[in-house]
Amino acid sequence: MENLVQDAIQNVNMAAIMPSFILVLFGMAVMMVTVFSPKGKTAHISWVSIAGLVITAFVAFGGWNANEVGFHGSVVMDNFATFFNMTFIVAAILTILMSDDYIQREGYPLGEYYALILFTTAGAMWMASGTDLLTIFLGLEVLSVSLYVLAGMFRNQLRSNEAGLKYFFLGAFSTGFLLYGVALLFGVTGTTNLQGIADAFASGETMLDNSMAVAGMILLGTGFLFKIAAAPFHMWTPDVYQGAPTPITAFMSAGPKAAAFAAFVRVFSVSLESMQVEWTSMLWILAVLTMIVGNVIAISQDNIKRMLAYSSIAHAGYAMVGMAAANEIGLSGILFYMLAYTFMNMGAFAVLVLAGKKGEENLTLEGFSGFGYRRPFLGVAMTIFLFSLMGIPPTAGFAGKFYIFAGALKADLVWLAVIGVLNSAVSLYYYLRVMVYMYFRDPSEDFGWVKMNVATTASIILAIVGVLLLGILPGPVMELAKLSLF
Amino acid sequence: MTPVSLSNNWPLFLTTMIVKILVVFVVLILIVAYATWVERKVIGHMQTRLGPMETGWHGLLQPIADGLKLFFKEDIIPSQASKFTFVLAPMMLLVPAFITFAVVPFGPDIEIGGYLVTQQIADLNVGVLYVLAMAGLGAYGIVLAGWSSNSKYSLLGGIRSTAQMISYELAAGLSIVAVFMLAETLSLREIVMLQREPLWGVVDFLPNWYVFSQPLAFGLFVVASLAEINRVPFDLPEAETELVSGFCTEYSSMKYALFFMAEYANMVVISAIAATLFLGGWSGPFPGFINLLIKIFAFMFFFIWLRATFPRVRYDQLMKLGWKIMLPLGLVNIALTAVVVILMQ
């Protein structure tokens, strides 16, 4: 018993979870600040949260090359985790920047909003750095549960209610599958530690028969695929994305998706290596399906928010291409792509935040007629983001797609790559449509646009910088992504 | 020769088990029945009345009379009441009350024909969790009763009492954590054993009853359990004057009797648990179970006394007490215990 305690003490190693730990502390601090500050004032809270995120960013970056292993090898702070942590932090900061004015305007000035964002980010970090199915599961749940609330934040908007409810139901549903998969893998290998599972498969000393392992893998995959909104588990995405508060939609499409990918990649490429043949072939099909579904349905959307939701499905598909390639380039391509996607997609949503008016109206294409002339800056910004989403150089989107498809071709998945580029050709159409409305249509009657405000504008500028930087000089970041593989 | 566990000899095991159960059950019912009588007498005298005097010597047969009367009463099930739950509810309340007693040890292990017989129906290693679980079940009985009888009073009473029960269940649960931190076990039997040693291992003229080392926990537990079984001053659910006796408004005849029994059974049970956790259970000068009975009766008298003395608290006061005072106190108590124990080591 005593030596057990000693063992536990030696294995704690807070360094392995320091970023998320700080973030959680800040989250609680924000909660306290919220309850002790006058109702309806949230600006200072948002700044506290941003401060927290910045500090976390520094700490997290300290984790580069640190390879801290903690808690009996159930958490590790390696480059992989660090890279994703950075992505999450960027996403969170952008979200918070674009949020404050928005929630004031929509009439829900709640400090909890920020606390929940911080908790979500912390959960995402656990997912990225978890090396034990238990920690990954915990991270996933912390993330999801906070997101359920955030999606349903606007209590009296039926749209928001529905978004929350649907996200909750399908999220919990998928959690069930994930857990069942974990249980089966546990039964087969007798451990929930990723490396342990891998070793068990390698040494062939599995308790139950391997068909159960495959079943477990499929169920686990299902759980993750739900979270990354891959077809055929994407049904929740458009509704939730459309219904949730716009900044939260932006956040969902970037942070949690990246987190799900992080866990997905780690689990499958570390512990299920021995079954790579099976899951790559499965992902091949699913990636194609996802890209096609996302792009084709997006064409017929005339609500931009919903269109972006479907496009995010498609982008998940592109990232899955990298996963199906399952080689170094493809996997590190996912890392890079997620960061690029965070910038461009959140930028686009930030523009939507300033484009809509109270109650989220005029996010339709019609509402965007002549947008480029009424709001020149926003128009240009939106254009840049859309080109990036299309994958036109010199933008982050192009660099990301290049990286991913390069991975696919490296793995000789020529047809997958071809299907991929053809899909992005399809995607051109609906992205161009937005621009057509923004610039080629005469301004419709004035919609009483929301006033510009510093924070949101800042987030947009940040996103633009990110998109162009990653587009014109992607080298360093790509190098980082390369070094981030385990 | 050293005594061996009974489980190697099934026939004997079964017989002893049946015997124990029957004895406990009968005793429990007797206590419950006469608790009503005692209560009326005691309160009567406290209010300088005599209480029941007619049936039997000093109304000694009163409980029986009441029972018979209720037994022959018409059994009304209101229209639009959901029948099944309506019938189920009283049992949901009574059964947990009775079976909670299974884990209460009422004496030291005795040796019969070379076999070790525990004076306890079932010695669970998680006895306390079992107790809490049963206590939790009680809430269902009440909320079901309140909901199923399709009467506004019942519904309000039911919901109120549920809220009250869960609130205080929390406090009770927290308060006894401190005890386990000292006892390092969840088995009531072992807890009693530990309380037979001298206090803190040093003071040899006092037993190591946890009431001495955990007075705060004791107080919290007693109050919380009072509230949990809806006794005065926490008897809002059946507040006669405002809710026409709450969740059991629509009940009549034997079902009503069951609720009644359940209340007293609960009193007995929590007295027993409190005695076991804090007052050394069956340990004491006399043969085991007598000590236990004495402690139980003492508690019961105390409860009756409270009823005679205290007015009913307001609902907001009730909740305030539960959440804002007892819960923090419970946490503080745990922290204190932890600190002290660490310092002692």
Partner: protein
């Protein structure tokens, strides 16, 4: 004699029942209970497996699953109630403002 497989089969059945319930039932609360059923089916297999393998990881996992389930319950019910207050109904068919 009852082997681990019996437990696994049982939990599989429970899990499938839960899944079916989620997919077929229309009352939000019932759907939610079905999800809980799924989680508890998983818990069952965890516990049986961990006793079969003789390592407690599974039981620890169950601990966390239970906690998480509780948190989900709290949030989920809150969402359902918020929806009910706006819509006066908890039929998931009514959740249709956005294309389902």
């Amino acid at each position: 004699m009852v082997t681990v497989y019996h437990y696994l089969v049982l939990s599989a059945i429970l899990f499938s029942l839960g899944t079916l319930g989620v997919l077929t039932r229309r009352n939000a609360i019932v759907v939610f209970m079905c999800i809980e059923l799924m989680l508890n089916a998983v818990n069952l297999s965890f516990i049986s497996l961990s006793s079969f393998l003789g390592n407690v990881d599974g039981q620890i996992f169950v601990f966390f699953v239970m906690t998480v389930a509780a948190a989900e319950a709290a949030v989920g019910l809150a969402l359902i109630i918020a929806f009910y207050r706006n819509k006066e109904s908890i039929e998931v068919d009514e959740v249709s403002l956005l294309k389902w």
